[in-house]
């Protein structure tokens, strides 16, 4: 296998042949002040203009040495296109939804030109730009919110979860079903635009819901989405999801992006034969407040555990020091662990 970033990542996505080192990837944002300053691109322009979006994303590969390029920094592109009011934030603040258009669980009207709405178009154009720049050399990762996350944005998180708690299955199910086509369409549009992989971000996180909620409401939907996706998917669900790893492995995704709270060795042992794993460097304690040495240790732990692609556990804090991100790359550059006999360990 020719050793380049693209091949390392794509092979790792399917648990395939390894190169001399593990790939370093970011299914979620690695935009930070340091990268903004070095690339000359900041927020909010990187959410709103495709060239800016592409340049900041490419900087992650060309300046930091990540093997992936992922241009969608926020989680609200779809909600904005569906009519939610969005505050696009700034250099110190990620975008957020300010109003919930379907707080009453009224039917969600998906516009026929959804993919042409500015917040979707910007992502598709950025991916195409990135493709022209690094296609085949670095792995291009798109990102789409799943129906659960979009329901948070359209109905309000607390409101939606209250409906789940009250057992209003028809109401909850209807909203999810109305959003499934949005996820599928945006995923496939991103593949068409030039993405090699797409992240399906759907926040049925342990901080909020139980594994039984995921199994009942979302697993069948994820299986439907993965069946219709035109390329490989990474599932991103935050939090300590140790209690639902096997469910994720049934969803049909090729890879799961996991957090530090899930032990790498445990995750590899339980589901590593069925899906690939990407992660799981801790954000608040290691990447934001820690030293490069702290980050290096966590990265080596993940590598030695057999995590397929090494990277931060989630979208990084905006004031993460650049040297801490570089520490992940440096840890990976050391290669795979070598046994006492001098052979590279599987």
């Amino acid at each position: 296998m020719k050793i380049n970033s693209y091949n390392l990542v794509m092979s790792a996505m399917f648990g395939g042949r390894r190169g001399l080192r593990p790939p370093v990837g970011n299914p979620t944002s690695i935009a930070c002040h340091g990268l903004m300053d070095r690339s000359g691109v900041s927020f909010p322009e990187a959410h709103l203009h495709s060239q800016a979006m592409a340049e900041l994303a490419i900087a992650g590969h060309e300046i930091l040495g990540f093997d992936t390029v992922m241009p969608e920094y926020s989680v609200v592109q779809e909600a904005a296109a569906l009519g939610a009011q969005v505050d696009w934030g700034g250099r110190d603040k990620m975008p957020d939804v300010k109003g919930f258009p379907n707080g009453d669980f009224s039917d969600i009207s998906v516009p026929a030109d959804f993919l042409e709405k500015p917040s979707c178009r910007v992502v598709l154009d950025a991916i195409s730009t990135i493709r022209r720049h690094v296609g085949g050399r670095a792995a291009i990762i798109g990102k789409v919110m799943g129906p659960w996350t979009m329901s948070y944005h359209m109905a309000g998180t607390q409101n939606f979860l209250l409906a789940v708690g009250m057992g209003e299955k028809e109401k909850v199910g209807r909203m999810l079903r109305q959003l499934v086509p949005v996820t599928i369409a945006f995923i496939n549009a991103q593949f068409s635009a030039g993405a090699d992989i797409v992240v399906l971000a759907d926040h049925a996180t342990r901080n909020l819901v139980g594994p039984y909620h995921y199994e009942e409401y979302l697993l069948p939907i994820h299986q439907e989405i993965t069946a219709q996706a035109g390329g490989p998917l990474i599932l991103h669900v935050c939090g300590n999801c140790s209690d639902r790893l096997e469910l994720f492995a049934q969803s049909g995704v090729d890879c799961y992006h996991f957090e530090w709270q899930v032990d790498s060795k445990e995750a590899v042992r339980r589901v590593g034969d069925r899906i690939s794993l990407v992660g799981n460097i801790n954000n608040p304690q290691a990447l934001l407040q820690g030293t490069p040495e702290d980050v290096y240790k966590q990265a080596r732990y993940a590598i030695e555990a057999g995590v397929n692609i090494i990277g931060p556990e989630c979208a990084i804090p905006l004031s993460t020091p650049v040297e801490n991100l570089r520490a992940i790359v440096e840890a990976a550059e050391e290669g795979y662990p070598v046994s006492k006999e001098g052979t590279v360990q599987p």
Partner: protein, 212 residues
């Protein structure tokens, strides 16, 4: 009486939000004391719900429904109570810090604190340091609870503590913090009095801080 208390407690734990008012009224009609309904049934139930949440047996949806159920039951009893102010276990101000719009955790803590008998002033989200200090001076709470879900907004908590010190208010109020990126180490680093990993722990902290 025990049967009525058990029925109310079970209804809250089970999230029977539609049945609770009738169950509470039945207990009142049978002569069960309003205080017993509040303390032995409603508050006791929320303690159990909080423990179940803390141990991962239930999650936010069930917590929200239990809190709604408890509140529905409390609405039946409250009009019968005299001198409600003097019954409060303490006063807590709750807020999400500036730049942060996330509030589920804070709202759960607020509901649990009210269920536990605290008077809670929920200031909402995106509260500036200045506004928080103004409210602390005005209300003189026993506890100030701060929530942040973002690593970018965590530093606001430190600013609040520093400003409490600057304005000579620090000794008059206990500060507890919570939120996904926050932990005990961070709480100690910024000089907060406590960290709650979940809503149940936050209530325990408030109880400890309010002992007079």
């Amino acid at each position: 009486m025990a049967g009525h208390i058990d029925a109310i407690r079970d209804a809250v734990i089970g999230g029977k939000h539609g049945d609770i008012k009738a169950i509470v009224q039945e207990a009142l009609n049978a002569g069960v004391d309003a205080d017993a309904i509040i303390n032995d049934a409603l508050i006791s139930a929320m303690d159990i719900v909080g423990k179940n949440f803390g141990s991962g047996k239930i999650f936010v949806p069930e917590m929200l429904v239990a809190a709604v159920t408890m509140k529905n039951g409390l609405d039946v009893v409250k009009p019968l109570l005299a001198g409600e102010e003097s019954r409060s276990r303490g006063t807590v101000i709750m807020a999400t810090v500036q730049g942060d719009l996330h509030d589920i955790g804070k709202n759960l803590v607020t509901m649990m604190l009210e269920g536990a008998g605290f008077k809670v002033i929920d200031l909402g989200v995106d509260l500036s340091v200045e506004r928080l200090l103004d409210k602390v001076k005005e209300i003189k709470p026993d506890v100030l609870g701060l929530s942040a879900l973002l690593t970018t907004t965590m530093p606001e908590m430190k600013k609040v503590v520093e400003e409490l010190v600057n304005q000579g208010l620090r000794k008059d109020v206990k500060v507890m913090i919570g939120g996904a990126p926050v932990d005990r180490v961070f709480a100690e680093k910024i000089g907060a009095d406590g960290f709650g990993a979940n809503a149940a722990e936050a209530v325990e902290l408030a109880r400890r801080f309010s002992v007079k």
